[in-house]
Amino acid sequence: MSAILLVDDEQQILDGLRGLLRRERSRWQMEFVTSGAAALATLARQPYEVLVTDMRMPGMDGAELLTRVREQHPRMARLVLTGQASTADLVRALPVAQQIIAKPCERADLCSTIERSLSAQTLVPNPQVQALVGGLRRLPFRPECCAALSGAMGRRDVTPADIARIVEQDPALTLMTLSMANAASFGDSVGSLSVQVAVERIGFQLLRALAQSIEANAPPAAQPKHPPAAHLWTRALRQARLARQFVPDPALRDEAYASALLLNLGQIVLAERHGAEYALRLDELASSDASTCEFERLTFGYTHPELGAYLVAAWSLPFRLAELIAHHHAPAWLASSPNPLGAPVYAAEALTHAMESRAPLPLARIDPSIRELPSVKPSLGLWQSLAQTAA
């Protein structure tokens, strides 16, 4: 049974929530406390899976509580349920909260958000991954994209399309934007994975808050001239563009782009964490999918697909994307998955690698189980020539 801790300074809110979630008592163990201090005390006694907290509270406020929980209990999912949406509050909440739900919210939205957090923990049960991702002080944003975003937000004539073009250059920014757009605050969580749609949905106030929160959390030291993840960002972009071209259905193209862009977010986190050495090692191992994951498992105890999948799921992106990322080195799983994007995204990654290493037979990089799929086989020639054109 999952344990959920709800914090709000208004007893009335807590009583209301208790009544609202009464039927969930069979699957969730719920605790309701009225202050940050009480929440920390409760957490010290027993582990909880999910924290849902108000932002504005006397004494320790929501942002402070979330920050402490991030340090002390990084595996816990951190959700905010707030009636206050001032930019200043959002700037403080965005770096520490994985999902922000606006008051008043419907029972279904609250439950589904909690469920998504729990499903992330089910999908990637590795406690090390949960602790690492949950404890991240900062997502691995691309500095040049953040600078461009801040610049664009300062312009008066900026359009959502301008913002979308900047955001979709950076996997971490894309993750944040899609996550905010998929928040229950927007009522119908359609699970769209189009950056442009997401930017339009969340609006400039939230984007400004996002840009400000990233600025406020910028690493203090000057960025190295060649960030360890630099070539991973380039590769992510390359495979994302390729994936978009591989998908004939226009309705699925944006999702293909986002999926391929976020596919190796785990690697980017690892590269930022372990520096150039990891990136170097990755390049050596790039020849074989299995060996990369093997190397990671031996060195860290977890793999980048796990990391990426947990990141995406914890930040409330649709579960199908988290699954795809978790299994993107498991072609057999992808071949049997109902997600139509598994094969093209996998192929985009494989062909990008093949082009980078100038492999003589690029299509050989695609696992036979994918290659032989009836939906894939006729497109292989086209895909190869698209990849060659892009390279």
Binding site: D15, R56, A88
Partner: protein, 492 residues
């Protein structure tokens, strides 16, 4: 400098440069034209006119000489005749001077030909005159007179005719020169007119351009100002709306939740009622009658309480946002303060308690909405001052609001036990955009607006007492009878 500023300073530079070019061009053309004009007039005045004068004097001298000759004819006294003869000789000497000067001046062939004609006529005239003078001097006056009557008259006339012709020639020359002068003058005038027209056109265009740019700048500045004011108003409204939304969202959340629970609970109860009395198979496995019995009334009570809370907030909001476009109206300041405190609860409730000591106040003539905003701004400032101190002490602060009457003024004081205002910035707190608050917390307009509203619109005062480390109290004094009344009273 902004682009339009750059544009306009470039325009000004261009305009000055163009004006300079035009002035220099005008001056040069004018000078050139004037030079030619001057040369032409000089030719007339220093060359033609002296010749004309000399010829005229020559002719006059000849006529004088003719007079003296006639006198000789009429006189018989040898002494008088002798005098006349001396005069005639003198006139001739004078004419010789003219002749020499003219022949030195005359350079053109035509002029010289005319002069030669005159000299020929003179030769013809001079010979009999010489004989006449010789006879007269010899004393044979009668013979001289005869000689004179015989010969001098026609030669004299021919001489005069030659001189006249020479004079005419000179006159014609002058007329030509005059035409030339006027032609030159006309051309240069035309040029000057053209240039001046061009210059004026260019300057006019520049002026138009400058005006357009300046208008644009002014419009831009006005727009910026309007935007600032509007955004300030919007921000304060937005801030308030966000705050009020928060205040409303909270009860809405639990009213909704409670009603959801009530619906579920009632469904379960109805299910139980439908099933056979005493049956042990409730519709929902976790239906707990005791729990429902206890919690359903609680939930209904909670929903009821939440709805009254929402109603109170909405009512306060309506009263707070009293439209202020009309004239001042008598308002209950104390009621306004209570309304404002309801609206602004979220601004202070996390950091401070509010104590109100509202004395009896007569209705005050004011724009009540604006006065409410001033009170809210002061309360927010007090809350922020306390919040800053609370970061280190973690102790809740106290905001004390008092109202009382002082003479013909209503006084509102808002005091806090925050950190006070440091000596260094006391003079600056009313300046627009002056703020010590971090970005996103204040625009630095609150006190400026407060002062504008109180001083300019209501003829009141805003003052403060502060003690660093102990807190600050702001005093707003409003004339009870309104601004106009006070002015009238002062006039009377």
């Amino acid at each position: 400098m902004n682009p339009s500023g750059l544009k306009s300073s470039a325009a000004i530079a261009l305009c000055i440069a163009a004006t300079l070019v035009i002035v220099v061009g005008l001056a040069a053309t004018g000078l050139l034209g004037m030079n030619r004009f001057e040369a032409a007039t000089d030719e007339i005045s220093e060359d033609r006119v002296p010749r004309l004068v000399l010829i005229s004097r020559w002719e006059i001298s000849l006529l004088q000489s003719a007079r003296h000759t006639r006198n000789v004819l009429l006189l018989d006294d040898p002494k008088a005749v002798q005098d006349e003869l001396t005069m005639i000789a003198a006139e001739r000497q004078r004419r010789i001077g003219y002749m020499l000067r003219l022949s030195s001046m005359e350079s053109s062939a035509a002029g010289r030909a005319k002069l030669d004609q005159v000299l020929k006529a003179r030769e013809v005239y001079v010979a009999p005159e010489d004989e006449f003078i010789a006879l007269a001097q010899a004393g044979s006056l009668a013979a001289a007179k005869r000689k004179l009557l015989e010969s001098t008259r026609p030669t004299q006339l021919a001489y005069v005719a030659a001189l006249d012709s020479y004079l005419d020639f000179q006159m014609a020359q002058i007329a030509d020169a005059k035409t030339d002068v006027f032609a030159t003058y006309g051309v240069s005038c035309e040029r000057i007119y053209l240039l001046a027209t061009a210059a004026i056109t260019v300057l006019f265009l520049f002026a138009l351009w400058l005006r357009a740019i300046l208008t644009q700048r002014v419009t831009e500045r006005r727009e910026t100002e309007q935007r600032l004011v509007a955004s300030e108003r919007l921000e304060s409204m937005g801030r308030l709306a966000a705050g009020v939304a928060h205040e409303i969202n909270t009860p809405v959340q639990y009213v909704n939740d409670s009603l959801y629970f009530v619906r579920e609970g009632v469904d379960e109860l109805l299910g139980l009622m439908k099933s056979p009395r005493g049956a042990q198979a409730p519709t929902a496995p976790d239906t707990n009658l005791t729990e429902l019995q206890q919690q359903l009334p609680e939930a209904l009570h909670r929903a009821d309480e939440g709805l009254s809370r929402i109603a109170a907030i909405v009512r306060s909001m309506k009263e707070y946002a009293h439209p202020d476009d009309g004239p001042m109206t008598p308002a209950d300041i104390n009621h306004g303060i209570l309304t404002t405190l309801t609206i602004g609860t979220h601004e202070y409730k996390y950091v401070a308690d509010v104590e109100t000591h509202l004395g009896p106040l007569p209705p005050v003539m004011c724009h009540s909405g604006l006065v409410n905003q001033v009170i809210l701004n002061l309360v927010i400032n007090a809350a922020h001052a306390i919040g800053d101190v609370m970061k280190s002490t973690h102790r809740r602060g106290l905001i004390v609001i008092r109202t009382f009457v002082e003479g013909d003024q209503a006084v509102i004081s808002v005091g806090d036990n925050g950190g006070g205002i440091s000596e260094a910035i006391r003079d600056r707190i009313f300046e627009p955009f002056f703020t010590t608050k971090e970005v996103g917390r204040g625009t630095g307009q609150g006190l400026t607006i407060a002062r504008n509203v109180v001083v300019r619109l209501h003829g009141g005062t805003v003052t403060f007492q502060t003690q660093p480390g102990h807190g600050t109290t702001f005093f707003v004094r409003l004339p009870i009878a309104g601004k106009g009344a006070q002015v009238q009273a002062a006039a009377a």
